[in-house]
Symmetry: C2
Subunit: 202 residues, 2 copies
């Protein structure tokens, strides 16, 4: 694989629209199945996004079966319940606070494992920070492969962790409903800040 991309330019307007400008958070999905291959492709893209010292702490459970969804049901906020149970796929994204166990493989340039193994508070923050960067890469990657997403933080993290991550060092982060959205069921888009309200060049 080449790592040199000469003369990079802005990607095409239709791709910017699909990824950001016209992409929306969906609550209702059409009755069209999501292939395992597209989920795998989205992970293959998202995992290439940068994390500090290549920590790569994100873990993902793609919930497809009714049985697994029933395990998730008690943790869902009332307002998220019906739409989530009806979504073709629900991704439970999480982060491994023991990510440092894998740094000898992931970050061979330096002996980085002790930077975190000796400091659980630092490790937990790094896992949350970098695992959350990876959630966003995954949302963009799912859109890039042609899927729609409905990310949510309204759920009981402790219940999800007890049910799905009993090892104790993996913590749930964001749920993402995934499918092919029904654009007719969208609400109007919420406002955004102007550049000057959120950024400054100094």
């Amino acid at each position: 694989m080449t790592i040199h991309v000469p003369d990079r330019k802005m990607i095409e307007a239709h791709s910017l629209a699909q990824l950001f400008i016209e992409a929306r958070t969906h609550n209702v999905f059409r009755d069209k199945p999501v292939s395992d291959e597209l989920l795998q492709k989205a992970i293959e893209l998202a995992k290439m996004g940068p994390t500090s010292a290549n920590q790569s702490p994100m873990r993902v459970l793609f919930v497809r079966s009714q049985a697994a969804k029933e395990r998730l049901r008690p943790a869902l906020a009332p307002g998220n319940l019906d739409k989530t149970m009806a979504a073709p796929i629900v991704a439970i994204t999480a982060y491994d606070e023991h990510f440092y166990e894998h740094l000898p493989y992931l970050f061979p340039h330096a002996d980085a494992k002790p930077w975190f193994a000796s400091d659980p508070v630092k490790a937990a923050r790094a896992a949350f920070q970098n695992g959350t960067l990876q959630v966003a890469y995954l949302i963009v990657a799912l859109r890039a492969v042609g899927l729609d997403t409905g990310p949510m933080t309204g759920f009981d993290n402790a219940k999800v962790d007890a049910e799905f991550f009993r090892e104790g060092h993996v913590k749930s982060n964001v749920l993402i409903n995934i499918g092919y959205g029904d654009a007719e069921k969208l609400f109007p888009r919420s406002p955004r800040f102007s550049f000057d309200q959120m950024a400054k060049i100094i």
Copy 2:
């Protein structure tokens, strides 16, 4: 603006390469200036990415001037010092823990401000989580407009906050060096997990 994108498909391979597959974290940038217009475009894209209840807590200072860089210098980790001082632009990304003050504008569907105004711990976590999602959107958006990035967490957050965010409720998150990378100065790419090492379909 239309919100309906019919027949979305996977975006083109060259765009997937530019955004994820071949994109790299750069330490050395070519002597080519970065226009304000591209930084503005990247923000216009990144701000459209989803956050919980449209919280949009990310704030960004794009450091271009030598004077502003000198203010940043004392906070940089030794290993990040020279490359950061030499980068055309350094983005200081941050999150506003008082984001809820803006929810009446950003999230008009509900009276969401009290959900956070009454709970500083919950507000701080939400600001960090959603502000970090937005950092990743910004990294992908910078790549989408044709720029290269070098994100870093190795710096003294308290020093940056004291120097740049004296209001006290805005906290620094990730620094991002920005420019046109010198591909010949790249190290080999670090390994990534396989799908099965980080994800599962259940």
